[in-house]
């Protein structure tokens, strides 16, 4: 009885009695979720356009942030370094397309997946070789990102909001909006959607797959850079980010591999769910459940909807 009480009643009692703590947990979860969403967004962009499950998205986040900080350390002004980093991501997109995707075209999914593993290893080694493996501090001030916290007082108590978190949420929303407009309104966006629908049909109406792939990998690179800046400003730029980036995977299965709204909603569900779980139910199990809770939540959803919340319905034919 006691254990049932602790699982089903006590956490909710706590939530009601201390609404400010609940709000704080929800906010923390929301911010974490936004960052998961951003990584998942990079995955979805690439998966939609090229059918590649890009394992390297996590390391691309680290690599982009590292390039930015590393260039700044060499005395390049912050915004010039930002521009150069974008250029580096463009070069990376070209290189990936030319050296990896093009020779491997029409191979099975798992082979392409494996190739992105190779890319991950390559970027880990290359990033460390060029910029060093030590954790670095993100150049938040030089990029005019706010720091410090504001306290939001309501009739339930007060919640402390980090300014960088607010900035992260706003920038993420802007980026999603820009991407949405880009996909819906521009010529390239239409081409991207065509490729996502069917490679062959897109080819037959004269869309260049190679070009689209470069654009998509570049877009994913820019998303990675933004994520890297935000995440780096919250903690630091280090290779341990890459493990956290694995959290984007349950977000993906929750949202479906092909849905951008799915990536965002999934990210928020996972972010908030794991913070709530850790805070209210974690102590029952001895803590640290944050590491696997996300996967179990996703697994639970999957059993009922095998294609994710927003994924396209899977139709199988013989």
């Amino acid at each position: 009885m006691h254990i049932l009480y602790q699982i089903f009643v006590d956490p909710f009692m706590q939530m009601v009695h201390a609404p400010d703590l609940l709000m704080q947990t929800l906010w923390d979860g929301l911010v974490g979720g936004v960052l998961y969403s951003l990584i998942a967004l990079g995955f979805v962009l690439i998966f939609k356009a090229s059918g590649v499950f890009n394992f390297a998205q996590g390391i691309m986040v680290v690599f982009a942030a590292l390039t930015l900080v590393g260039l700044h350390e060499h005395g390049i002004p912050a915004f010039v370094a930002l521009g150069l980093t974008v250029l580096v991501m463009l070069v990376l997109a070209f290189a990936v397309e030319r050296l990896m995707l093009r020779p491997l075209v029409n191979q099975s999914e798992i082979i392409l997946f494996m190739a992105t593993f190779g890319l991950t290893y390559f970027l880990i080694g290359f990033g460390q070789l060029v910029f060093g493996g030590n954790p670095k501090v993100m150049i938040a001030q030089d990029l005019y990102l706010p720091s410090g916290a504001i306290e939001w007082k309501g009739n339930f108590g007060f919640v402390s909001l980090q300014k960088i978190d607010i900035a992260a949420v706003i920038i993420a929303s802007i980026m999603v909006a820009v991407l949405a407009v880009f996909f819906q309104r521009t010529r390239i966006g239409r081409a991207l959607r065509a490729v996502a629908d069917s490679h062959q049909a897109a080819l037959s109406v004269g869309i260049s797959l190679e070009q689209i792939w470069v654009i998509v990998w570049f877009a994913a690179g820019v998303v990675a850079l933004t994520t890297g800046i935000m995440w780096g400003a919250r903690s630091e730029v280090s290779f341990s980010l890459q493990i956290i980036a694995l959290k984007a995977l349950p977000v993906l299965i929750l949202g479906g591999f092909t849905s951008i709204p799915g990536a965002i909603v999934g990210g928020l569900i996972i972010g908030i769910g794991e913070k709530l779980g850790e805070f209210y139910w974690g102590p029952l199990l001895g803590g640290g459940i944050e590491n696997w809770l996300a996967y179990v939540i996703a697994l639970g959803f999957l059993v009922f909807r095998p294609q994710g919340l927003f994924g396209e319905k899977i139709i199988e034919r013989i």
Binding site: P103, F122, L129
Partner: protein, 358 residues
């Protein structure tokens, strides 16, 4: 020239079904076993046995395990590291509770515990496919890893939180623990790996193997011709986890001699997956090739600068290894997406007709 089956007629069904139908293959396998059992222990120093051969064999076994699941049944799993961990921890508990039973028995039995856990986490595979399943197996990976750290009973409440391998003997010779020599451990590992590879080869060549392969090629069609997917998939998870569990138990008891939960982290899962794919999906020999390449290549790369007197910082050498291995993975996939086993097959085919082009 070297390699031709001319004149070797199969006159009964047993010969037709033999694993090595060609005489040269049989000679080859005997030579390999002789080298493994006689030559290596004679000429091998501690470094060769302990740093190269034992890990190579253990990783090969893990790769065979994953290959049965991913290569033969088409179910992608990223939980290999955790299933290896289950084997290791089960073996530790078993030998602690029943210290008088031979440790080799427990190493094999611990595979069954891994099997049970594998089946449990394999249940979602009935509804989920492809990469969705891969992420689902990540749940197993992270949950089990958390268990290995948070449940002190599993590592006998030791202060360090690590597995401490006790001394166990077999007919008076220490096999595990600090006093066991690398030669005895090598023989133990080699024997287990050879036996289990032989069993695996029989499984995949028989009815079960064909059942798995039909599920891999198209599970819907397989169901229509009367294969029970439920059984086939869960059996694949069970057998695969068994192999991984035994590999994990051997890894801790016969190689490391003590390990923390980090050994069974997600990196280990990825490493084994590398081996399977680089070696060749759906081939047993590929598991050995993949294990050799992925495990031994970095060691070789680290030795090269030291032996040629190139001054390089150890950290830089490590990073360079990452770059080279990453690039090589891509190069290998571009050159031969079907893995090293396919290259081997092509090589054999070429040898058959040599010196003629075709």
């Amino acid at each position: 020239m070297l390699y031709r089956e001319v004149g070797q007629y199969k006159s009964n069904y047993a010969a037709d079904m033999a694993v090595f139908p060609i005489l040269q293959d049989r000679i080859g396998i005997i030579v390999i076993l002789l080298i493994a059992y006689v030559v290596f222990p004679l000429i091998g120093n501690n470094f060769l046995l302990n740093t190269i051969l034992i890990p190579f064999l253990i990783f090969s076994l893990a790769a065979i395990g994953l290959n049965l699941l991913t290569g033969y049944t088409g179910l992608l799993s990223l939980g290999t590291g955790a299933f290896m961990g289950v084997g290791a921890y089960a073996c530790l508990k078993l030998t602690t509770i029943f210290p008088h039973v031979n440790i080799l028995v427990w190493i094999l039995v611990s595979g069954f515990f891994s099997s049970a856990i594998g089946v449990l986490f394999g249940l979602p595979s009935l509804r989920i496919k492809g990469f969705y399943l891969a992420v689902a197996t990540l749940a197993a990976q992270f949950f089990l890893e958390w268990c290995f750290i948070r449940i002190p009973w599993l590592y006998n409440n030791s202060v360090s939180g690590a597995i401490e391998v006790p001394l166990r003997t077999f007919i008076g010779i220490p096999i595990t623990g600090p006093t066991a020599t690398s030669t005895t451990r090598y023989f133990a590992v080699l024997t287990i790996v050879v036996l289990m590879t032989w069993v695996a080869s029989n499984i995949v060549h028989g009815r079960i193997g064909r059942m798995w392969m039909s599920v891999r090629d198209m599970d819907l069609a397989a169901e229509l011709i009367g294969i029970r997917l439920f059984r086939a998939k869960l059996l694949a998870f069970a057998v695969s986890s068994f192999y991984c569990g035994v590999a994990g138990a051997m890894m801790v008891f016969l190689w490391y001699g003590g390990a923390e939960a980090e050994v069974f982290a997600i990196d280990q899962s990825f490493l084994v997956l590398f081996m399977v794919i680089i070696g060749g999906l759906g081939t047993l020999i590929g598991s050995f090739f993949g294990s050799a390449l992925i495990y031994i290549l970095p060691i070789g790369l680290r030795l090269i600068p030291a032996n040629f007197g190139v001054p390089i910082r150890p950290a830089a050498a490590e990073q360079l290894t990452f770059v080279i291995v990453g690039a090589l993975i891509i190069v290998f996939l571009v050159v031969e997406p079907n893995g090293l086993a396919r290259l081997w097959q092509i090589g054999k085919q070429k040898l058959r007709v040599w010196p003629f082009p075709y």
